[in-house]
Amino acid sequence: MRLEISRTRAPTLPSPCEGEGWGGGEILLAEQGVYLPQAHGQNAWHIGKLCLTSERLFFLQSRRVIFNTPLTLITEVAIESKRFTVVRKMAMAISYRDPRRSGLAKAWFITPSLGRWLEQLHQIVSEQGPLPRQRGMGAREQRSSGAAEISPAPQPPSTSAPTPPITQAQMERLATALDLRSREILWHLWLKRHATINELAELIAAPTHMDVLFRIRQSINPVAEEMLGRPILIFEESRFDRETGEVVSFSWWLNGGAALATEGREARIEVFNETHEINVIVELPGVEEEAIRVRVQREKAAVWLEGAEARYLEEVPLPAPVDVNRVVTRFKNGILIVNLKKISDGKEDK
C-alpha cells in the first residue's frame, strides 16, 4: 500500500508509512526515529519510523506497527531528558490512555527533528480542548509553568520560508543603534543562540523579567525591524537546536540564527574511516551549494566557502592516503559529504 503525502509542511518524508494495521488517515509527519516503551529497561530503544496521521500516532519497526495510539487518547506531550545508549538526549514523552491496560501509559520517542513533532502534537493535544479525563500535569499546564509569569508576545506560526541568518555585519550595525544593555542581550544570543528570560535578566542585572521583555519589545525589535525589516529576537516554546541536537524549550532566539562562517563559530566536521574509503562529512546549514569549495590532497582535505561575506575554512588530516582523482561530493540538506577512495596497498605496489 502506498500513500501520498498530503501536506508539504512535513520535514522529512523519505517514504510514506508502509505498515499493517495502523488504521488509515491523512499522514501529517513521518520520520525515522527511536522508540522506548514504558515497561522496558533504559536501553531497549527500538529503531524504526514514527508516523503521525490526522487520527493516530504510531511507530513502525521493520514495517510492523509496534506502538499505536489514537490521538484522542493522548493526554500529555512533554520533553524529557532520557538516556539513549551512552548519551542523554531530549526525548518526546507521550502519555496516553492504554485501553488494553485500562490506565495511563507512557512512551518516549527521539527523532532528528523533534521540535516539529512537539510543535505539531502540542497543537493537536491543545486543540482537543478540555477532555473528559484527568489531565494531570497536562501539556498546557506545563507550558504556563515553564514560561514563568510573563507571556511573551504571541508569535505567528512559522510556516513561511526560512528566515535568512543574521551576519556579523548586520549585528554590528544593530548594536551601534542600541543602548549598552540591549547590546549585551544581542551579543549574548549571537554567541549562545538561545537564552531563557531568566538568563537574560541575570545578564543585564534586570530587577524583573518585565524589564527584559520591555527592552526586547520597545527597543531591540523595533530597531531591528527598521534595519532588517524583521524582529531579530523571537520567543519559541520549543525549538530544535541544530548545533547541539537538543530541543530547547521556552527560550528567546535570534530570528534566522547567526550566519555561519563568522569567527568563533565552528561548523561540525567528522571523518569516517571505512575499510576502503573515507567519508568526510561537514555540516553547513544555510549555505548555498555553489559557494562550497573542496580541495583534496593525498593526506588532507579542505573545505571552504566562497562568497561576499562568508569565508570559512576547515582543513582536516585524513587517516590514510586517498586517490585525489576519485573524489565524489554530495550536498543535501546542509550536509556536505566528501567521499574519498583510499589508495590500497596492492595498487601502490604496482
Binding site: 522529512t12 523519505p14 517514504s15 525515522q32 526515529g33 527511536v34 536501553n43 531497549a44 530503544w45 527500538h46 529503531i47 524504526g48 519510523k49 519497526q61 521493520s62 514495517r63 539513549f84 545508549t85 551512552v86 548519551v87 527521539i110 527523532t111 532528528p112 541536537g245 562529512i281 543535501k332 540538506n333 550536509i335 559529504i337
Partner: protein, 108 residues
C-alpha cells in the same frame, strides 16, 4: 578449552562478554541515530537494523535471565563507566591537572 564449570568464573566471563555485546549494540544504535540525523539511513537499512537490534535485545535479555548474570553485566558496565568518566573528566578539565599538581606540591 576454557573450564567454566565454576560458577564464579562463568558468571564473570559471561558477564564480561554480555557487557561487551551490549556496548557494541549501544554503539550501533548511536551510529544508527547519527545516520538518521544526517539522512543517510535508507528505509531498507532502517528496517534491517531495527529488526536485528531488537532480536539482539531479546537474546541478551534471555541469556541474562537464564544464567542470572544481569548483575555481573551491570557491574562490568558501571566499572567501565567510572573509568571513562574519570578519563574524560581529566581530559576536558585542565583545572584537574592543576589541582593534581597543587595537591602534589603541598605533599612535597
Amino acid at each position: 578449552m576454557l573450564d567454566i564449570d565454576e560458577g564464579n568464573l562463568k558468571q564473570g566471563m559471561l558477564g564480561l562478554v554480555i557487557a561487551l555485546v551490549e556496548i557494541i549494540k549501544d554503539a550501533l544504535k548511536t551510529q544508527a541515530f547519527k545516520r538518521m540525523e544526517s539522512g543517510r539511513l535508507s528505509e531498507e537499512e532502517m528496517n534491517r537494523l531495527g529488526e536485528a537490534l531488537m532480536e539482539l535485545d531479546i537474546a541478551i535479555n534471555q541469556i541474562k535471565e537464564e544464567h542470572g548474570v544481569a548483575e555481573a553485566v551491570q557491574s562490568v558496565r558501571d566499572g567501565l563507566d567510572d573509568i571513562v568518566d574519570e578519563v574524560i573528566d581529566k581530559m576536558v578539565n585542565p583545572e584537574r591537572w592543576r589541582e593534581e599538581l597543587e595537591t602534589r606540591n603541598i605533599k612535597d
